[in-house]
Symmetry: C2
Subunit: 146 residues, 2 copies
Amino acid sequence: MTTQTAIDNFVNRCRTLGLSVTPQRLAIFKALIDDHSHPRPEDIYKKIKAEHPTISLATIYKTLETFEKHGIVSVVTHLHNTVRYDPITEPHHHVVCVKCNKIIDVIDPSLNTIKVPEHILQGNELLGYSIHFNVICSECRLKETN
Amino acid sequence: MTTQTAIDNFVNRCRTLGLSVTPQRLAIFKALIDDHSHPRPEDIYKKIKAEHPTISLATIYKTLETFEKHGIVSVVTHLHNTVRYDPITEPHHHVVCVKCNKIIDVIDPSLNTIKVPEHILQGNELLGYSIHFNVICSECRLKETN
DNA sequence: TTATTAATTAATAATTGTTATCCAATAATA
DNA sequence: TATTATTGGATAACAATTATTAATTAATAA
């Protein structure tokens, strides 16, 4: 998909969602679309500031949250707000509620045998891998229906 | 493993590592050992304060970092310091350098067919899953040898 | 078009999470 | 016991995020 069609899709998507396509939103989307570095809000802010000198960092935050809520962009992990410690040091996995950030251990040996793509091992030292099963947990689902 | 043997192991482990087993460290370890909620440093602080009224939150942070460095505890994700956005919304995975927090996309359909344990689907709404391949990247490995 | 209302943005303050600093206290070792 | 290294506590500094509020802009109806 070309950058232009991605932008067109974005615009259509916004219209469908009832989101106005403001210059700020467009700029933020453009800043992200061909960026494979998984930038922080701050990074996007810096990238955009030259062309949009009056944009506020808070706008970047809010816009990205809006985009995420509507599936226009994604976050690499929902557990980015604070460190969470685990007494288990053996390889295992986690269920993560994207609403309340509850974390539950998943200890299942069958998940420890996935085939690691070759290219990951090129140059890097693999320490292990961990699977995040992103869910809306039962408690949060109940709350949602209210 | 009983709590007591876990504590014994901890004490031995510290001795081997040349870490003194202080009351604070013991308290922090104990607070974590049977806690499956994946607590934040703040949570541990609150849990301990009654018995250790003089302990500082900074000590909790420092101690947990020390523990993590020596493999006594683990962190649920290394990407806990800031949000990272991704223009890709389709299911995919990531290589994460635990030193520099660089993130690289892993798009490999064979990783999208893992068998999700049944119990995860009980009550929860599964949105998807994402694998973090934790590595020390080539750049950081080079830096380390200095 | 203009008036009205709703949505969005900017500026900034406040809050939260984390780290650094510095000194005191404690532990390890000579 | 004396000396040195490690650890901890208090607090300041810093970084990331969120909340607040007012101004601006966009959408909609008259």
